[in-house]
Amino acid sequence: MSQSYNLPDPIQGTIELPLWLITIKDEPVIRRMMFIRQLGLKAYMDFPGAIHTRYSHALGTMHLAGRMSEMLSKKMMNKGKHVIAKNLDDNKNNIMAAGFLHDIAHAPFSHAADFVLKKIIGKSHEELCEDIINLKIPSDIENWGITKSSVIQLIGPKTHSHPFLSQIINGPLDSDKLDYLLRDAYHVGFRYSFDLDNFLRQYMVLGEEEDLKHCILGLDSTKQAVVTAELFVVIWKSMYDLVYLVEHSRIAEKMLEKAFLLRKEDSVIKEMFQIDKFVEGNDESMLSQLKKMGPDVTQLLAAENPKRLYSTKLEIELNKKNFKMTTAFLAELEEDPDELSEQLSLRLAQELKQERYTLICDIVKSKAPRKIYLDNSNTNESEVELSMRSDIVSALTARNLLKVYVAPAALKKIDCTNMSEVLKKLVEEEKGID
């Protein structure tokens, strides 16, 4: 009999490693996650305690995904929905494997490199995830009733044939979010308290079991479910405002992105993002490679020396009162805000006769929470979602800020008073149908 492992975890308590994981856990592609910090540059800039890694989050997500499957299965069984319960039981290993592998394609420094990945190899990290699972995860995993194609489907972003299963990994109430919010909060030093067990008890699968492809993951429609979900959304919102979008880290991430883009044609950088090298890379190796690439690149590495950190010189809400936005600009804002920020950065530097990336434009989108559906079987309403029941959730709306960061050496050379006028011109120039 194979040896089983129990690991202590500050967020999830004890995590029992399933046997299939024991067969792959020592693979380099898996161990690489131990050398990528979950919050990337935030650990170097604003939150020195945030030294936790993708690996511990992967374990936490896997553990929670397994618990969710079990709890939901029992609950649906008690409600007489045996087909849904059986589907959850049959897919438990796939769901847990998807939880463990969902971030396998994250580049070092996590989200800071997402845009670079797209620019250099033309793939999102979700697409790369599919390649890594197919090519780099040993097929032995399939001896445990796990199929790689199911795991890939569960991770998304394509719609799964049974959405309630994939929403355990990728949905408004997924195990990924539940783990990273609590784990990140704990490590940055925020003592947010949240009764996870109580929340999970409110979960249910909505829909008829004769029609599994339309069943979704939702919550009971009780007051307790609504209030617990409100607390979850408030923690989500505060983590975005105080951690994920916090200023110094955000600037350092954008600077790092530009450091890569400065050398995106360099063969060393290109190779770094090819799958064989990519799965060997980690935070340390990537940083040390960049440090060798010349002073223009080094100047963009704020984690090395915070004196290099750019300053925010403009912060303006992207709305019709401040800008006459065209339909093309609005479409790009929705479709690809990172590319739009990049184009604005290049054009603003040109207009102000500055070197490339002396100024960095950054569109910061704070989103409204995703729709969380509640059970409507005892109401006359055709569709019930959390924001229809909660004043707190309905008050959270999307907001877009346009920020301009300026390099320390350029601060005295640039006329910042002129900047917003130049930006207005650039935004209004985007050719739309109007």
Partner: protein
């Protein structure tokens, strides 16, 4: 992939309503019908969902139009614990609609005319009618 034309057509949709659009469900189902039945070239991808055809791209675009001040969102309290989200063009949104009418009217006069005509027809239908029609014409069913 969202394109400039999608934004223009959405603005024209709200402009054609000429009053608030009551509820998010209404927007989703109307646009679905316009796309699949009336062949208005919206790029929004609709998926099969618990409540019928649903497009998260469309929902996000509406959020962006609210955030940029082109649409105003009004929360109506229907009962002590149920709220409905209504949407209408703001003054800036109306201004954009007038511009869109001119530009789109020059480039795609039939498309604009058809969109406005069909939208006004849809406005007269009840919610259960548009929910049922959206499922029928898109071939996208739901669980309920």
């Amino acid at each position: 992939m969202i394109k400039a034309l999608d934004v223009g057509l959405i603005i024209a949709f709200f402009g054609s309503y000429n009053s608030k659009v009551e509820g998010r469900t209404r927007i989703q189902k109307d646009i679905c019908i316009l796309k699949y039945r009336d062949k208005i070239p919206f790029n929004f991808e609709f998926e099969s969902h618990y409540y019928g055809p649903y497009s998260s791209e469309l929902a996000d675009t509406i959020d962006t139009l609210v955030a940029t001040g082109l649409l105003k969102q009004n929360i109506m309290r229907l009962s002590s614990d149920i709220r409905r989200y209504d949407y209408a063009l703001t003054e800036e949104g109306k201004e954009m609609f007038q511009k869109t009418k001119i530009t789109l009217g020059k480039r795609e006069p039939t498309l604009l005319k058809q969109l406005m005509h069909k939208t006004r027809k849809l406005k007269q239908m009840s919610i259960p009618e548009v929910v049922s029609l959206s499922k029928k014409c898109s071939g996208i069913q739901s669980s309920i």
